[in-house]
């Protein structure tokens, strides 16, 4: 049963400001099949690009013979690394300041790496061309295991990075090592655990793709693409290609899911650009699913060792975490530059304790670049998994109820703003309230009783909790940048004379419903009905500069910019109203979309009347028009949180895990659109379920990706996905103009440990302390057999 909570509203449903479940403005086109995604776009004279990929995970290229391909009618060009090298385009920078091959000139570094590109008149002919290109390889030894990569004498995978010997990319640490060591030594209870958060893939249902369109006469490059960050792409493209930035236009369309996978620049995009520059025609590149699952959009792959110290009765005192991060052959993680391991040091979670130390070492292996997000803000999921698993292990170890132990260790509401031992300042929270609500909704005490009875009878039932704290909304520009670009965001609003509004934002929707929610922010601030507000984004020629949508930053950053731009407009409207009402601006008050003279409410002007006056009757000395732009630089991040409880039953004859119930209480601060927030949470929970039980990209010892189709990479269907039950608490962000915190990723971050904790809870009495995700039936089955309880 879901608890429907009243979300406060200040506007009428017709206006549809914050708190209203306004139906989405974007949906009419989607439900009719009239959405426009990149592969739907056809330009006159458009050609197709397809990619020759390496069968080897590590090999020397001895030669490429394109002659047979070029003989196929319709094949126009074959581009190789040697061709790119002449233009200096064979390497490109990654978001993490490493470099990545566009096409190799001598060595391939992962299975399915791009080796050559074929340009042809249509997609079938391009594929024929790809099949006809002959590449002569000499295989080299392959390193798949990051621990082996770090061993003395291991083959150096990146001889070009002399500054990074031994396949070691970087070391990063946070917190106080000595104090943490001392606290651990003197702790009455110490628990430690290794865990692996494996490589997974975002697998949005639309793959990546683009059309590069070079207009030689105008000197204009238009890149139509699936991108979560079009402005950043434009700037990177300008820097790499030398084309002037004002002659580059990046344009996105409807995006069929992003989840982080559409933030980076992939070789295919650059190849399409080069191809278009070469042939002078638009060139389209669309990945197929197996290319997508083998070559890009990977996340995670952290090998974590955590150690926690506590008092005898379970007060946490300290946490020490060592991590090996497998980045593949280059560091292309989409992390802010000062944070090579992202925000992993938010690992102290929702708990109040003085000493923590975290260290992470990045490693090269023969895999494609990893480290883009999977619906999560910069490595937060890995951190939350570790802390929430450790808290459960501690509770079980000392025989205390995991809910109780959490309650006793939570940061208390009055401690906010709270400084963590690793340097973050949490804005606001009430963790006990969220957990309490989740426990009530699910009937926690009854479930514990049922579990005890079932255990007597030999049945396996488990209850798992996760009380996570997220960290989103990057971010304050003194701390956060990507490739030097500061992580502010933007909104530009134009009010037309007839009281209709066009607003453009620097972020990019991939299904989150920005056309609706950003209109709601403006409706809230200015009183225009949502129906009268059009939101645009994704065209760098028109939208204001912004860093894009990922890491749940749209609402915290661009949402704030939208509120601030609206307020600038309201301030101007106040002066216009004063002029119209012949009153002093300070004597006016703003209610329900109009300014009225204090004390005489019938002397008023609506925002629509004011808009008309801005173009027809503005006072002398005032600029005409009603427009504003805001570039918002947040003073801090926001810290959404929640408490999830999961109940599982384990089938002793198969090892199958059945999620009986899953209650999710989220607190994302003030809510713009409850319907959309719930939808985001449903989706996020399902992308938390996925890696917990099903999804993993595995490699064999030769570096072959063994999950190259949806037959082996298992997305949850409607059958495996439980009927999620949602609840809310609201703790506004004190520093955000509308008190919102962002919600798109919380559930993906919070759900996996709740599920893992539930499974381990069912098996702890048999001596099971941890099972690495994904917790598949064969893994559980093996444990049940080992423990002699399989039936």
């Amino acid at each position: 049963m879901a608890v429907e909570m009243e979300v406060p509203t200040q506007t009428t449903p017709e206006v549809g400001g914050m708190g209203h479940s306004v139906k989405r403005k974007e949906d009419p086109r989607f439900i009719r099949g009239a959405g426009r995604y990149i592969d739907d776009v056809v330009l006159p004279g458009m050609l197709w690009l397809d990619i020759v990929r390496s069968p080897y995970a590590h090999a020397t290229i001895k030669g490429i013979d394109a002659s047979a391909a070029l003989k196929i009618p319709g094949v126009l060009a074959v581009i190789t690394g040697a061709d790119l090298e002449k233009a200096g385009l064979h390497w490109m920078p990654t978001l993490a300041n490493d470099k990545q091959m566009v096409l190799p000139t001598d060595t391939v570094m992962y299975q399915s790496q791009e080796v050559a590109a074929v340009v042809a008149t249509d997609r079938y002919t391009a594929a024929d061309g790809v099949a006809a290109v002959v590449v002569d390889y000499e295989p080299l030894p392959v390193i798949v295991d990051p621990f082996k990569a770090m061993e003395a004498g291991a083959q150096v995978l990146r001889p070009d990075r002399e500054d990074r010997p031994n396949n070691h990319i970087w070391h990063w640490e946070s917190g106080d090592r000595d104090a943490t060591d001392r606290a651990l030594e003197s702790a009455a209870v110490r628990v430690s655990q290794r865990m692996h958060i494996p490589r997974i893939h975002v697998a949005s249902i639309e793959t990546c793709g683009c059309i590069a369109d070079w207009d030689a006469i105008r000197g204009q490059m238009t890149l139509h693409m699936t991108s979560q960050a079009p402005h950043a792409i434009r700037t990177v493209l300008a820097l790499v290609s030398g084309l002037p930035e004002h002659n580059i236009r990046v344009k996105t369309y409807d995006i069929g899911g992003g989840f982080g996978g559409k933030v980076p620049v992939y070789p295919g995009y650059v190849l399409a650009v080069v191809a278009s520059l070469t042939v002078g025609k638009p060139v389209k590149w669309i990945e197929d699913r197996s290319e997508n699952l083998q070559a890009d959009s990977f996340a995670r792959d952290y090998h974590i060792h955590a150690e926690m110290g506590a008092t005898a009765d379970g007060r946490i005192t300290s946490l020490k975490v060592r991590t090996l991060a497998d980045h593949g052959y280059t560091d292309a993680a989409a992390d802010p530059s000062k944070f090579p391991a992202g925000l992993f040091n938010v690992i102290t979670g929702s708990y109040d304790f003085p000493d923590a130390f975290v260290e992470v070492d990045g490693v090269y292996t023969n895999k494609p670049p990893g480290g883009v997000a999977y619906r999560c803000s910069f490595r937060v999921t890995e951190a939350v998994h570790a802390i929430e698993r450790m808290v459960d292990i501690l509770a079980h170890q000392i025989g205390k109820d995991p809910a109780q132990l959490r309650m006793e260790n939570f940061i208390q509401p009055e401690q906010f703003p709270y400084k963590t031992p690793t340097g973050w300042e949490y804005d606001s929270g009430d963790y006990g309230k969220a957990l309490k609500l989740a426990m009530e909704m699910i009937g926690y005490d009854d479930l514990r009783r049922e579990q005890a009875e079932k255990r007597e009878r030999g049945q396996l039932m488990g209850i798992g909790i996760s009380s996570f704290t997220e960290i989103v909304g990057a971010g304050p520009s003194h701390q956060f940048d990507i490739l030097g670009l500061k992580m502010f965001d933007s909104c530009e609003i134009r009010v037309h004379p007839t009281g209709k509004v066009l607003a453009r934002i620097g972020v990019q929707t991939q299904g989150q419903g920005h056309e609706t929610t950003f209109a709601q922010i403006i409706a809230e601030e200015l009183g225009f009905p949502v129906a009268d507000i059009k939101i645009e984004y994704g065209d760098t020629d028109t939208a204001p500069y912004g860093l894009g949508t990922y890491a749940s930053r749209s609402t915290p950053v661009a949402g704030a910019a939208t509120a601030m731009a609206s307020r600038k407009i309201r301030e101007k409207a106040r002066h216009l109203a004063a002029h119209l009402l012949e009153a002093n601006p300070d004597d006016l008050e703003w209610t329900n979309g109009k300014f009225s003279v204090k004390g005489s409410p019938d002397r008023s002007k609506t925002i629509q009347e004011i808009a008309f006056a801005a173009y027809t009757n503005h006072p002398q000395g005032m600029e005409a028009g009603l427009e504003a732009v805001d570039y918002y630089d947040p003073p801090n991040l926001t810290f959404p949180f929640g408490s999830y409880i999961c109940v599982v039953d384990i089938e002793r004859s198969t090892g199958e895990i059945k999620i009986r119930r899953f209650v999710a209480v989220d607190d994302c601060g003030n809510i713009i659109n409850p319907m959309i927030v719930n939808g985001q949470i449903h989706g996020g929970l399902t992308m938390g379920l996925a890696p917990a039980l099903y999804e993993q990209i595995t490699y064999d010892e030769n570096g072959n990706n063994l999950a190259g189709t949806f037959m082996d990479y298992l997305l949850p269907t409607a059958v495996e996905t439980p009927a999620w039950e949602l609840g809310k608490t609201i703790t506004p962000s004190p520093h955000h103009p509308i008190g919102a915190k962002g919600v798109g990723e919380s559930a993906t971050v919070g759900a996996p440990p709740a599920i893992a904790n539930a499974v381990v809870d069912a098996l702890w009495h048999l001596g099971v302390r941890n099972i690495d995700i994904p917790i598949t039936p064969p893994k559980v089955w093996a444990i049940l057999q080992e423990k002699g309880v399989a039936t």
């Binding site: 990929r53 390496s54 069968p55 295989p139 197996s290 064999d700 990706n705 037959m711 082996d712």
Partner: protein, 147 residues
């Protein structure tokens, strides 16, 4: 992947050795082989069509007889590619006198590395398929020698 086995062949060692070191002959027994092109005494090219699960691929294989110690030992190395896939294999055959006069025991070992699309998409079916195909190849050698 490594495979090994033993085949009893009712034919004298010299004859078996001559067979397995002759590209035209032994080539006929390779899995899915459609044509053989002899380059020189120790090198030849084979074209073969192989299927794993729902994937079917045409391989062009470069074969080399890397070791030939008459009449007891022969090693053949193969490297081949199909679009997006590659195979690297070494087959070692050790021939010894069988229990009966005029019979040979062939101990064989095959070391096989499969890369690319077939490994990735064929996934779990590869090992079984490879085992079956290799087994068939040695059965073929036997039946041709005996027949």
């Amino acid at each position: 992947m490594q495979f090994s086995g033993k085949v009893d062949i009712k034919a004298p060692r010299e004859k078996v050795f001559a067979f397995v070191t002759d590209p035209q002959q032994v080539g006929q027994c390779g899995p899915g082989v459609e044509s053989i092109e002899v380059i020189d005494e120790t090198h030849f090219k084979a074209r073969a069509k192989v299927g794993v699960g729902f994937i079917r691929a045409k391989f062009v294989m470069d074969m080399e007889l890397v070791e030939a110690v008459a009449p007891e030992r022969a090693v053949i190395r193969a490297r081949g590619q199909a679009p997006g896939s590659a195979v690297d294999a070494t087959g070692t055959m050790t021939l010894s006198q069988g229990a009966d006069a005029g019979a040979t025991v062939m101990d064989w070992q095959a070391d096989l590395t499969i890369s690319g699309t077939i490994a990735s998409l064929g996934g779990r079916m590869i090992e079984g398929t490879a085992n079956k195909l290799i087994g068939q190849a040695f059965d073929c050698i036997r039946s041709r020698l005996e027949g």
